[in-house]
């Protein structure tokens, strides 16, 4: 469990980092290192070059803009967890990030690292899917915007080009009369989720569901949006019956299973967690509607 030899690079700007990624053979970006370093020590990953983004100041920080939040990709998960701005503007992100690993790993782990690594049990990609967040990536020809729904390409693989670097995450502001909830099921609190659900829901003035987003992690290589359940809920009052109907739809989501966690078990979890997150999100939306 000793990593093979590699060269370490510590660029000071995005341009320098992109230049390195464009010229080096078999290079990997190092963000917080909470997944990559164990993979290297296990010799599952063997890059010849590591490009550490930790010294690029412009990649770090949380700022409010007209749409919501603009978060630097290298912002630590712990900083997001402790941010009042995040708690106010995007309570779903604040709620979910407390489930990411341990406090010690959140001190090092970054939001961008987690989104790019795309572990099926990770929490942040599920939030990103529920919120339809936008990402900014920098490459040799400049920056481009990527909708999160287009971001996952394969198991543990994003759609970034090899020489591209994720620079910013744009998180939308939670609208009025809205509520959200994040729940996951795992064996121990700090583990990757066996299944996780992020739900956000907005009521209209009559108290009916104007908009709802339900994202499920752990069912597939990428977070899945429950389009059918969302459609069934839209226009409904968020009563127990409607939520149960949506949960029943959620229970039919095709899930990747294995001997330990079979697909039908994950479907059970999906139905339960969808019902529970919808219940919490609706109740929070109703509270927010009355304020």
């Amino acid at each position: 469990m000793k990593a093979p030899a590699f060269r370490y690079h510590a660029p000071r700007s995005i341009a320098e980092a992109v230049a390195l990624m464009s010229t080096l053979e078999n290079a990997r970006v190092l963000a917080g290192g909470q997944s990559l370093m164990p993979m290297m020590n296990l010799r599952v990953a063997g890059p010849d070059h590591l490009v550490d983004l930790g010294r690029i100041a412009e990649l770090n920080g949380i700022a409010e803009d007209e749409h919501g939040l603009r978060i630097g990709a290298m912002t630590s998960q712990r900083a997001i967890e402790k941010s009042l701005l995040v708690a106010t503007i995007c309570p779903l992100l604040a709620e979910a990030i407390a489930h990411v690993g341990h406090q010690q790993t959140r001190n090092r782990g970054t939001i961008g690292g987690s989104l790019c690594h795309l572990d099926p049990g990770a929490e942040l990609p599920v939030v990103a899917a529920a919120l339809d967040i936008m990402l900014t990536a920098a490459g040799p020809t400049g920056s481009r915007e990527i909708a999160f729904r287009d971001f996952p390409a394969d198991y543990l693989t994003s759609s970034l080009e090899p020489e591209e670097i994720l620079t910013h995450i744009h998180v939308p502001r939670q609208p009025p009369r809205s509520g959200s909830a994040f729940l996951e099921f795992n064996r121990r609190p700090a583990d990757f989720a066996i299944l996780s659900v992020a739900t956000t829901l907005t009521l209209d003035e009559a108290g009916r569901i104007a908009r709802v987003a339900i994202a499920v992690g752990g069912a597939s290589y990428r977070p899945m949006r429950l389009d059918a359940a969302e459609a069934a809920l839209t226009g409904q009052l968020p009563n127990a019956e409607a939520l149960a109907d949506a949960a029943a739809i959620a229970g039919t989501l095709p899930c990747d299973g294995d001997d330990l966690y079979p697909a039908d078990y994950k479907q059970d979890l999906c139905a339960v967690l969808v019902r529970r997150t919808l219940t919490i999100a609706a109740s929070r939306a109703q509270e927010n509607a009355h304020v």
Binding site: M1, K2, A3, P4, A5, L42, R43, F185, R187, R188, P189, A190, D191, F192, I194, L260, Y261, P262, Y265, D268, L269, V272
Partner: protein, 787 residues
């Protein structure tokens, strides 16, 4: 036997029974400990092993040239290379055991055939571990795969493939436990319970994995091995035999050890391969196991399949139990048949079992060899008995506590003999204990009587809580002996040396406390040397919850002998009658004349001798004493565990809300350390019940080789464990102590599972497999909801 002085009569009885701070902790907490990997030896090379990538196969060839050519690589060694310094092909590990049909001693590197994933095949020695791993990636093994045996039931079927080609078949041992008229027990009207239980493999998983550093000194023709082991004297014996050296040429030292839990008790192939290579290359070599190796190459256990039936009277009293235990022994027999025998005998527990017949088959499989891990088979046996009692209680409509009470051995029956022969040839005898009181106290503490009311109230609020109950015994203090020497030289320092070994459980404190108690000194002033074969000629070490019993009593006897000698010398020096001399705070003084005395240091100086002068009283030289405590039988610790759980029937999730242990290990030398042992044991038992599972696929590939996949119970999932004590001193040793190291593990699975079944009683959920995963529980809930 020396009589233990009464507390009030003897002013020196100040340390036994106290929560003395541990003498180990200062250096551990300051980060100053020296674990194997901390030993500074810049000239040492580092090693890694190329291990079998398949569970079973024939080695048709290996290409080592590319690895040998890599810069920084010193040697790439296969078995044939090491054979030059070995006396035999196989490590002579075999323990004598009646039921063994043949022994399977492992070689230090595979010879021709590989029999489990992780078996060492090639040893690479390089300037650094990193380079060694680079070289390992260049080794090409040409292995012809053979069918793998992965299940102890299928492996014993006629026509099963063989797990090893060098054995007649997979049935490595067949034995039984058999007493009473079992046929009669099942005749006539009886309440019958029939079950199959499947218990899966786990491990010890010490935080510090195994490790060996070997240095051969050609000038002195001596080999020194620093070994993270629980049994340095046994390691030395294996090295002496395998390397053809004499005893004076081999020294085994254990540095600070970061946990053992059984994993480091058995001598593993690497412990020979590294010293052999150090001799061959004449260079010091260090190998520190990494976590992948720890999962695949370190022993583990717990795989057992039981088919059992129990006959009960209609009032709930046991008539008899019979059945068949099939046990997955892995690919070798490093520790005889101890595990299934412990399991089968510990099934009996604190209960009167009039007739018992358990047929035991040990199956070789293509998995890492099995050897005792904390509990050593006993949690499994206890699990079977406690499940059978819960089943019968439900079937006969008797409360779970009541059916146990009706079957319990009572104090008036002590010592209680069970006609089962143990491995030392003696009968199984429970020496002491009050089992009914232990259960009764646990029920009171946990609020057993009021629980149904709380349960109903919680249920009304949508919470499914349950309270589980389990009783057990543990045979502790296994012999044959342990030795302790105490010497005080002219420096006045008290040095205690023992064949006992320390892995973090507080053995040094235990020995210091016992000696301090007799000498009237502070434990912190006593220097304890354990785990060094050059400091103690003979010893056994850490296994079977034994060191307080064996080494503790040896220390007590040696300290008492030392004081006797000091008293004789002091009487001479003080010109007083021996009977008038007493020891107080390390001073030998004349009774009633405080201040008129000699310190232990002064006596040690006098007994060190002065050229030409006589020794005081013509006593033999030196202020020292040594004692070997030889056991006369096993002392039985017992306990009752209650686990309060909450189950989420929709997810299969289980949460432990509360955990109560009432424990009786006789007299406690240091209750705080006893509680540490119990707590750690309970945590291991929680792991075995809900989390820990060493999984393999159908080809014998291990599936859980990181702590992301093999789940240990973390502090998030462990409730506060409330521990209470009874103290029934054993008559088998002067201190009255029994062991406590494994006990916590034994009761936990039964108590937790009983609690889960209680929470889901309305669904008639019956659990027969460990560990219990959320999907399995969810499946049981679904099945229960359908009926």
């Amino acid at each position: 036997m020396t009589e233990l002085p009464k507390t009030q009569a003897d002013p020196h009885l100040r340390w036994i029974g106290r929560n003395a701070p541990r003498v180990e902790d200062d250096v551990l907490l300051r980060g100053g400990a020296t674990f194997l990997d901390d030993i500074a030896m810049p000239e040492a090379l580092e090693a890694t092993f190329v291990r079998a990538p398949v569970a079973h196969g024939l080695i048709r060839g290996m290409r080592l040239e590319a690895a040998r050519a890599l810069p920084g690589v010193n040697a790439v060694l296969a078995f044939a290379d090491l054979r030059a310094v070995l006396t035999t092909d196989r490590i002579p590990l075999a323990l004598p055991a009646g039921g063994l049909r043949f022994d399977v001693d492992p070689p230090c590197l595979a010879i021709g055939e590989v029999c489990y994933v992780g078996e060492p095949v090639v040893l690479i020695v390089a300037n650094s571990r990193r380079i060694a791993e680079d070289a390992a990636a260049l080794v090409e093994l040409d292995i012809e795969p053979l069918p793998a045996v992965v299940d102890p039931v299928a492996g014993l079927e006629p026509g099963s493939p063989k797990a090893r080609l060098d054995t007649p078949d997979n049935l490595v041992a067949r034995t039984k436990v058999d007493y009473g008229d079992i046929a009669a027990a099942f005749e006539g009207p009886a309440h019958l319970v029939r079950e199959t239980f499947r218990l899966n493999k786990g491990g010890g998983h010490p935080m510090e994995p195994r490790g060996v550093l070997a240095r051969y000194d050609a000038l002195e023709d001596r080999l020194t091995i620093w070994d993270s082991t629980q049994m340095p004297h046994r390691a030395k014996a294996m090295l002496v035999a395998s390397l053809g050296l004499s005893e004076h040429q081999v020294r085994v030292v254990t540095p600070d050890v970061g946990g053992g839990f059984g994993t480091k008790a058995v001598f593993h192939p690497e412990e020979l391969a590294i010293p052999a290579a150090a001799m061959l290359l004449q260079r010091p070599i260090k190998w520190v196991e990494d976590r992948f190796e720890s999962f695949t190459a370190s022993i583990g256990e717990r795989d057992q399949v039981w088919t059992v039936e129990a006959a009960f009277e209609t009032d709930g009293r046991l008539r008899g139990i019979r059945g068949h235990l099939r046990y997955d022994h892995g690919a070798a027999t490093p520790y005889g048949i101890a595990l299934p025998f412990n399991a089968a005998t510990n099934l009996i527990g604190p209960y009167v079992l009039p007739a018992y017949r358990m047929d035991i088959d040990l199956c070789l499989t293509n998995k890492t060899p099995a050897a005792p891990t904390r509990g050593a088979g006993r949690p499994q046996g206890t699990f079977v008995m406690e499940r059978l009692l819960d089943r019968a209680a439900a079937g006969l409509n008797i409360a779970r506590d009541e059916i146990r009470r009706r079957n319990m051995i009572v104090p008036a029956q002590m010592p209680y003999t069970i006609p089962v022969k143990q491995r030392d040839g003696s009968m199984m005898v429970y020496d002491s204990g009050d089992y009914p009181q232990c259960q009764s106290k646990a029920l009171d503490v946990a609020g057993w009587q009021d629980f149904p009311e709380r349960q109903a109230k919680a249920r009304a609020e949508g919470h499914y809580i349950g309270l589980g109950l389990a009783n057990y015994v543990e045979a502790t203090g296994r012999g044959p002996f342990e030795s302790v020497g105490i010497s005080i030289g002219p420096s006045g320092k008290v040095v205690v040396s023992s064949g006992a070994t320390a892995q973090g459980q507080g053995v040094k404190t235990m020995l210091a406390q016992v000696v301090a108690d007799v000498l009237g000194l502070e434990p912190a002033s006593i220097h304890v040397v354990v785990g060094d074969t050059s400091a103690t000629a003979s010893g056994l070490g850490a296994y079977a919850s034994r060191q307080a019993v064996t080494a503790g009593n040896a220390a007590f006897a040696a300290a008492t002998m030392l004081v006797d000698k000091a008293r004789k010398a002091a009487a001479e020096l003080l010109e007083a009658a021996e009977a008038d001399v007493e020891i107080h705070n390390g001073m030998l003084q004349v009774k009633g004349v405080p201040g008129h005395g000699r310190s232990l240091q002064q006596i040690a100086r006098a007994l060190a001798g002065t050229p030409g002068f006589a020794l005081p009283g013509n006593l033999p030289p030196g202020l020292s004493a040594a004692s070997d405590f030889m056991t006369s039988g096993l002392s039985y610790t017992n306990g009752c565990h209650l686990a309060e759980v909450e189950v989420d029937p929709e997810t299969g999730g289980v949460k432990l809300n509360r955990y109560v242990v009432v424990h009786d290990c006789g007299r406690m030398i240091n209750p705080m350390m006893v509680e540490g042992q119990i707590l750690g044991g309970v945590v291991h038992g929680i792991g075995m019940t809900l989390f820990e599972w060493m999984r393999y696929d159908a080809e014998g590939q291990p599936l859980t080789v990181t702590f992301a996949d093999y789940l240990l119970p973390t502090s998030d999932v462990v409730p506060r464990v409330e521990i209470y004590h009874l103290e029934s001193p054993t008559p088998l040793n002067p201190l009255g102590v029994k062991g406590a190291a494994e006990s916590g593990t034994i009761g936990a699975p039964s108590a937790i599972v009983s609690g889960i079944e209680d929470a889901l009683r309305h669904l008639n959920v019956r659990i027969d497999t460990l560990p219990l995963t959320p999907p399995q529980l969810r499946r049981l809930v679904r099945a229960g909801a359908r009926t």
